[in-house]
Each structure stands twice: as structure tokens, then as C-alpha cells.
């Protein structure tokens, strides 16, 4: 039983990468640390459990990263995916610090591996965790336990008492029993609110019922809402999130990475009304996978159907659930519950618009359509070789961007613009400071590690002074 009578130096709310990086950093700096993870032990780690890599700046080849990836290119990539909706100073600080993120994680026992197949060809920019995010989470928990951090699972932080920008104590539910934790500094690293469907409904209405939550069901946004209600400054558009094209048959929560479908660039995609709505071949999939979740979320019924044929079926990773498979477009449409006449016409129109080209699956090739609206700019080949395949798509939400405002030391800012005396934040709960919209693969873990370390450092320094 943990000692709830004690005054801890640092309370860390959350149990994923951002929380653990903060907890370990603060403990290494000499602070006593208690960490509260809402989930039971096997599901600990928040969304980090489902991650696979982090994006790191590197001036030259490292053991796991090829070539180099410098600040300007990284910034350029980030600026492009966010459409300029970012904070350049904070983003550049994060990018520069990302160079040291892999070494820090390695110092905690995280093992990296060279990237292999099925990894969206990210070996230059992203460092991959051997075994994936859960192996990383395991390593961080082992390191945290070794350092003597008090690690509580099945422990939900429900309320933080904040007085004039100063947090004093937390009301928690520990294994279902109410408790209080007193502390000198707070690190909020409890994620976004994506698993809170009622909150999503405030912005999305009934459409929210059709969103699949890819990650942890414990991201309820309880502390995010609690802090915003107590004078902490809000950042980010509440309707923005990182979302991908998920298999419509996936579980509504916690389906994780394996539910995403990579078939879009090699398919034709229609919405419920059997209309194409976006250029499936606009760019290579690693640069487009993160916009498709939102695109589908904006379609009627939040459902889409990707149709392709036997020529393309080996160009992307297999799906967990078998695709609809039939010898005619009509049968495919019937299996998927889409209007067969319309789908036949859409495919016929598409096939008629395809111009000859040389198909190259990994790079933007010259296979495109002519006179089609919207066009398919690359990888456009006639869908004419049975058996035909189809995959139903729904938006798969990874995490929301609404968050608490922080400065470049991960210190939480109050509504009046003044920094909080003793509150820090890291990870998804502050992602909106940099991600105004869009997503860059592996950036979430970079954000968590960089701001986690800053938050841990800041909290420990506050306690020492």
C-alpha cells in the first residue's frame, strides 16, 4: 500500500511515455516521485503501448537511423503537415531536442532496432523501438521501479486542487478507493480526451459515435478538463486530432495499429453515397496516411469503401480481417452494402479516365487520371482484374489536439499568460501547442520524450528551490 500521508515532491498524472520520461528525469534529479496510471498493469502506458517509433533529428547516420535529418527539413515537414498551424519557436526547440531523445530512452533500457518491412519506409527519419511501444513502456517502468518511483496502476486522478496557479493536492481513485495525494509539483501527462465520446460529441454530434478510438480507452481527458476549468490556458482546436483510415470492422476502442489500412493509394475510395471525395494518390502514403481519418470523419455516415483488384492486393500490408472479395464490382458492392449500380459507374468512369503509365508502388509514379474530379494523381491503374477486393473504412482517432498551453520549459501557462508556479505538462495533453492540425509519423513520441524530460527537470528544480 503506498504512503498517502506523505508529501511527495512530484506527482505525475498518467502512465505513458511522456509521464515516465518526466518521472524518471525528476527522480534522477533527486525528487521523490509518485506516478498514477489509470489502467490496470497489462494495459499500462496509454497510447505509447501502440506506438512504434519516434522521429529524431540526426546530423549523421546512427546505429538505427540512416543518412541525416536536420532541423530545416524536420521543420519543413512539420510546417507542411500542420499547414503552418504551429508554434515555430516551440516546434524548433522540440526538433532540436529530439536529437537526444533516443539516447535518453536508451539510458532507460529502451532498445532500438533498424526498421524492417511494413514501416512506411521511415528508416531515415524515425528510430524504431525493438518490439514496439509496449516493450518501450516495459523498459521505462522497470527503470522507474529501479529508481524508487512510487508507481500506481488502477489509479485515476480525478481532480487537482489549483489555487492561483498553484497545484496543491490531488483527489484520486486508487483501486476503486478514494485517496488524496499531496505534492510540491505536478506533471500532467494524462493524454488527450479522444476516448471520451461524450466530449467528442460536443464538437462532432452523432458523427462521434462512428469514430473508432485506436488507442487506450483510458484517455478520458479528466485532468485536461479539470485544469482548463481552473484557469489554465487552453490551446488548440478541439475538433482537431490525429486520425487515420481504419478498418470499419475494428473494435471501437483499443484496436491499435493493426487496424489501419494502407490500401488507399492503390485503390479507389468512395463514400456512403458512392462518390469519390479525395485524390487517393496525392502523395506517398507516409505523407498522406494521417489525413484520411479526418477526410472520412467528414463524409456522410463516417464510412468509406476502398475498392481495388488483384493487381494491387500485394502492394500494401495485409489487413487483419479478410477483405470483401468477388469476381465482379456488383458483388463487391453488395457484400459491402453499397449501391452496386453507382459503384459500377464510378469504377467505369475511373477506368476510362486512367492514362497509361509505368506503375512504381514506392514512389509517386506517372500513373494518373485525366478529366476526373477529384483526380487520382499517382498509382492510378484500371480496376479490371478479378477477383476484386474492397475494404470498409472508418476514421480511427489516435489523439486529440486540444490541450493546456505550455512554455518552452514545459511549464503550464495560466489564462492570464503567467506561468503556473508548479504545474508542468507533457505529451498529448499539450500536443496542441505544436500540432494545430495534421500529423507527422513518430512525432507524438518525440513530443512526449522531449517535453517529458523538460517537465521532469522543471518539477525537480521547483522542488529543490
Amino acid at each position: 500500500m503506498p504512503d498517502f500521508a506523505r508529501l511527495y515532491d512530484v506527482l505525475v498524472v498518467g502512465g505513458g511515455n511522456a509521464a515516465l520520461c518526466a518521472a524518471i528525469t525528476a527522480r534522477r534529479a533527486g525528487a521523490s516521485v509518485i506516478l498514477c496510471e489509470a489502467s490496470p498493469p497489462p494495459l499500462r502506458g496509454g497510447n505509447s503501448r501502440h506506438t512504434r517509433n519516434l522521429r529524431a533529428l540526426h546530423p549523421g547516420p546512427t546505429q538505427v537511423l540512416t543518412d541525416s535529418y536536420l532541423e530545416e527539413e524536420y521543420w519543413d515537414d512539420l510546417n507542411r503537415v500542420t499547414g503552418g498551424k504551429t508554434n515555430e519557436d516551440l516546434a524548433r526547440m522540440c526538433i532540436r531536442a529530439s536529437q537526444h531523445a533516443p539516447d535518453f530512452l536508451a539510458s532507460c533500457g529502451v532498445v532500438f532496432q533498424p526498421s524492417l518491412s511494413g514501416t512506411l519506409s521511415l528508416s531515415r527519419t524515425n528510430a524504431f523501438f525493438l518490439g514496439g511501444g509496449k516493450a518501450l513502456v516495459n523498459a521505462l517502468y522497470r527503470e522507474a521501479a529501479k529508481l524508487g518511483i512510487v508507481l500506481l496502476t488502477d489509479t485515476e486522478v480525478q481532480h487537482i486542487q489549483v489555487e492561483e496557479g498553484h497545484a496543491t493536492e490531488a483527489i484520486i481513485s486508487h483501486c476503486g478507493f478514494p485517496q488524496r495525494i499531496r505534492f510540491k509539483a505536478l506533471v500532467a501527462a494524462s493524454g488527450g480526451f479522444q476516448a471520451n465520446r461524450n466530449w467528442l460529441r460536443e464538437y462532432w454530434g452523432d458523427a462521434a459515435d462512428n469514430f473508432q478510438i485506436r488507442g487506450t480507452p483510458y484517455a478520458q481527458g479528466t485532468i485536461l478538463k479539470d485544469l482548463l476549468a481552473q484557469g489554465v490556458q487552453q490551446v488548440g482546436d478541439p475538433t482537431q486530432f490525429h486520425a487515420v483510415a481504419n478498418d470499419a470492422r475494428a473494435p471501437m476502442e483499443d484496436g491499435g495499429l493493426a487496424m489501419r489500412l494502407d490500401c488507399v493509394p492503390f485503390s479507389l475510395v468512395v463514400n456512403r453515397d458512392v462518390e469519390r471525395f479525395y485524390d487517393e494518390g496525392e502523395d506517398v502514403w507516409p505523407k498522406r496516411y494521417a489525413i484520411w481519418g479526418r477526410l472520412i470523419a467528414q463524409q456522410p455516415g463516417q464510412i468509406a469503401l476502398a475498392v481495388t483488384d488483384s493487381k494491387a492486393v500485394l502492394n500494401f500490408l495485409p489487413s487483419v480481417y479478410p477483405p470483401y472479395k468477388a469476381d465482379s464490382i456488383r458483388e463487391i458492392a453488395q457484400m459491402a452494402g453499397f449501391d452496386a449500380d453507382k459503384l459500377e459507374k464510378v469504377v467505369a468512369d475511373f477506368n476510362a479516365a486512367v492514362r497509361p503509365g509505368t506503375f512504381k508502388p514506392m514512389v509517386p509514379d506517372d500513373c494518373s487520371t485525366e478529366g476526373l474530379v477529384p483526380p487520382k494523381s499517382h498509382w492510378a491503374r484500371r480496376i479490371d482484374t478479378p477477383p476484386y477486393y474492397a475494404y470498409p473504412l472508418r476514421p480511427g482517432i489516435t489523439f486529440t489536439f486540444l490541450g493546456v498551453k505550455v512554455n518552452d520549459k514545459a511549464r503550464v501557462l495560466m489564462a492570464d499568460g503567467k506561468p503556473s508556479a508548479n504545474m508542468f505538462a507533457s505529451g498529448e495533453i499539450m500536443s496542441g501547442n505544436i500540432l494545430g492540425q495534421g500529423y507527422l509519423a513518430g512525432f507524438g513520441m518525440t513530443l512526449g520524450t522531449v517535453f517529458g524530460r523538460l517537465a521532469g527537470e522543471g518539477a525537480a528544480r521547483h522542488v529543490r528551490n
Partner: protein, 381 residues
């Protein structure tokens, strides 16, 4: 449909369910998740071999299951491990399939049933043959000889006659070799056959994998022997057991060569080859088996196929007893306790030879074949 047709249909259905056990069906479901995830590709040979496939026929699953070294890295790294709804547990599922494949390919065919209650079988065989050896020794030999110190050339054979040793040990071992060879051929055919001519390079790759237990290295930093932390306990303990066993085998072989070719009779001097092989082999065998028993006892039970534990404990226990009675025999060989100890040791060895083709010992053969098949897939001819 007539009654005969119905019963035919029933038979076919029954056959189909016999061919595809729950473990195979569950493994196929799990492979669909794993093949879309692929986070574990850095761990061992199973996952790259899986990624090279899109369909998982029964033969593919048997091959992958026997390629699995049960290091448990994939379980502890799995975002979909229980209590997640997908409930992915490759180590336990593959262990079950391995056991089913041992039974399926066992020769002669009906003997596969012996894998069902394997702990009872191995423990029972050990008890039976130790008892038999003791009773026979007492019956054949004058108790005065049995309990008195025997020294000089041929001391052992005054306790158990050489012809009897040759008949029982040679006979049972010979049968085991035949049964396991036929089992290996059945397994090789059952998991896809030759698929091309013999290639030396993959055979070398496979031999290196077998001898170094590379796949128990977890991609460099070890396996999850006990929990989610990384270690190489199982790798080194298994190496101690394996090479200890091989040294013991070398001791018997050199002993036989001394006896039959050079006419040198046991007991041999402590520094002679057979005794040196046997001593160090016995020490390594005891360390390895005791260590593996310890690992099995304290390991996180979640990724363990509990149904198979009996057979595994019993076999490790038997090997430990063989190693330890062999060492004790060396210690007491000039005293009156030698007779009983020799009978004990001989009974245990005989039990091992008898259960050899129907125990976990066969995993070495199927694992080696799986590694060979994997090496051939990686280096297409």
C-alpha cells in the same frame, strides 16, 4: 440423405475437426493480427517467416510453431496480449501446436497419444525402469556381490552383465533412433516437403542457429525468461544442458570404443576420456536442467501453456537425475554403494531411451528441421 451417407458425413466432419484443432484455428486468427502489426520482426526468426506469408495453411502454422523457441519476447511486447480482446499469446499457442505436431508425426502413428499425459508417462517410465533395474540386479546377482565394494576391471559388469546392458540400452536406443528418424521424415513431408535440392549454405545457417541458440538471443539483448526484463538465462542453461548431454553421450561412445576396439575395460581412470567426458557432461547436465527447472518455476505464467508443464518438468527432472546419479556413481564407485547406484543410473538412462521418441526430446529434431526450412526460405535456391 441416407443413414450411411450421414455417418460418412459425420466421419468427414470428425476428421476435419481432428485435423484442425482449436490451437491451429486460434493461431491462424492470431497470425492475421500479427501479420498486420509486425512489431516483433526484430525478435526472432518466426516473424520474418510469418511476414513472407499471406495464407497460413496448417503446414505453415506447424512450421512457425516449431520455429518458435518460446522466448516470450513477443508476448511481453504485445499491444494485443490479454486482457486485450484479441488476446494474442503466441508462445502458449505455438507451444500447444508444437505438442500436437509431436503427437501427429510420432512413429508408429498411434503412439502420438503418449504426448497427452506426458508427465505421467515420463515419470512412470522412470519409476518402472529404476524398479526393474533394482529388482533385476538383486535377482541376478548375489546380494553379497551387490553390496560389497567392487574394484578392478569389469567391476560394473559384475553388477549388471554387459550383455544385458547391450540388449536393453542398445535395443531401446536403437528403436528410439528409428522412431525419431521416421518421425522427422513425416514432419519434413508434413510441413512442405523438400521444395528443392539440398543446399549446403542453408544447412550451415541452420546448424549455426541450432548450436548457438541464436533465436534465444531476442535480437541481441536476450529473452523474457522470467518477466518483461531481458536475460539470457534460458539460452545459457539450455546450452549447459545440451552440451552436457552431448558430453555424456561422448562418454558412453568413447567407453564403447575403449571396450570393443581397444579392449580396455571399465572402470577407467578419473583422467581417462570417458570419465572426463562423463564428469563434465554430468556437471553441465545438472546445472542446465536444475536451472531450467528454476526458470520454469519462477517465470511469469501468462505466456506458458500450462497443459504441457507436466511433460517438461518430468523430462528435466529425469535428465537431472541421470546427471546426478552418474556423478554419484563416480563418487561411490569404489564402495559398496556402487551396485545400487549403478542400477539406479542404468534404470533412469533406460527410461530416457524408452520415452525418447515420445517426450519433449523430439523438439530438438523438429526445431532443427524448422530452422533448416527457414534458412532455405531466406536463401532461395
Amino acid at each position: 440423405m441416407s443413414a450411411t451417407e450421414m455417418s460418412k458425413l459425420d466421419l468427414l466432419l470428425q476428421e476435419a475437426t481432428e485435423i484442425e484443432s482449436d490451437a491451429y484455428q486460434d493461431a491462424r486468427r492470431q497470425m492475421a493480427v500479427c501479420n498486420a502489426c509486425r512489431y516483433c520482426e526484430g525478435y526472432c526468426a518466426v516473424f520474418p517467416a510469418m511476414a513472407a506469408r499471406r495464407e497460413f495453411e496448417k503446414a505453415d502454422l506447424t512450421h512457425l510453431a516449431n520455429l518458435c523457441h518460446n522466448c516470450k519476447g513477443c508476448f511481453h511486447a504485445c499491444q494485443y496480449a490479454p486482457p486485450h480482446a484479441f488476446g494474442i499469446n503466441i508462445p502458449a499457442t505455438f507451444a500447444t501446436i508444437r505438442q500436437e505436431s509431436y503427437a501427429e508425426f510420432a512413429w508408429p502413428a498411434g503412439m502420438g497419444k503418449l504426448f497427452d499425459r506426458n508427465g505421467t508417462l515420463v515419470a512412470g517410465a522412470a519409476t518402472l525402469f529404476v524398479t526393474l533395474a533394482l529388482v533385476l540386479t538383486v535377482l541376478i546377482r548375489d546380494p553379497a556381490v551387490l553390496f560389497s565394494a567392487q574394484t578392478g576391471t569389469g567391476a560394473f559388469f559384475r553388477i549388471i552383465p554387459l550383455w544385458l546392458i547391450n540388449l536393453l540400452a542398445g535395443g531401446s536406443f536403437g528403436f528410439a533412433v528409428v522412431a525419431m528418424t521416421l518421425g522427422a521424415i513425416r514432419y519434413w513431408r508434413g510441413t512442405g516437403g523438400m521444395g528443392g535440392s539440398f543446399q549446403p549454405a542453408p544447412a550451415v545457417d541452420a546448424a549455426v542457429d541450432v548450436l548457438t541458440l541464436r533465436n534465444l538471443g531476442g535480437g541481441g539483448h536476450g529473452c523474457n525468461d522470467l518477466d518483461d526484463s531481458f536475460a539470457q538465462h534460458r539460452r545459457w542453461l539450455h546450452q549447459a544442458m545440451f552440451f552436457g548431454f552431448m558430453l555424456c553421450f561422448a562418454a558412453t561412445t568413447t567407453g564403447a570404443i575403449y571396450h570393443h576396439i581397444f579392449g580396455w575395460r571399465s572402470p577407467h581412470a578419473f583422467l581417462s576420456l570417458p570419465v572426463q567426458f562423463g564428469t563434465w557432461g554430468g556437471v553441465l547436465l545438472c546445472i542446465g536442467t536444475a536451472g531450467l527447472l528454476w526458470v520454469k518455476t519462477v517465470t511469469d505464467p501468462a505466456p506458458v501453456a500450462r497443459k504441457l508443464m507436466g511433460g517438461e518438468y518430468a523430462l528435466l527432472g529425469l535428465l537431472f537425475l541421470i546427471g546426478s546419479t552418474g556423478l554419484l556413481l563416480l563418487v561411490v564407485r569404489h564402495t559398496g554403494a556402487m551396485g545400487i547406484m549403478l542400477a539406479l543410473h542404468f534404470g533412469l538412462v533406460l527410461a530416457l531411451f524408452v520415452v525418447l521418441p515420445y517426450s519433449k526430446m523430439v523438439h530438438g529434431i523438429y526445431r532443427s528441421i524448422a530452422l533448416l526450412r527457414n534458412a532455405r526460405e531466406k536463401r532461395p535456391a
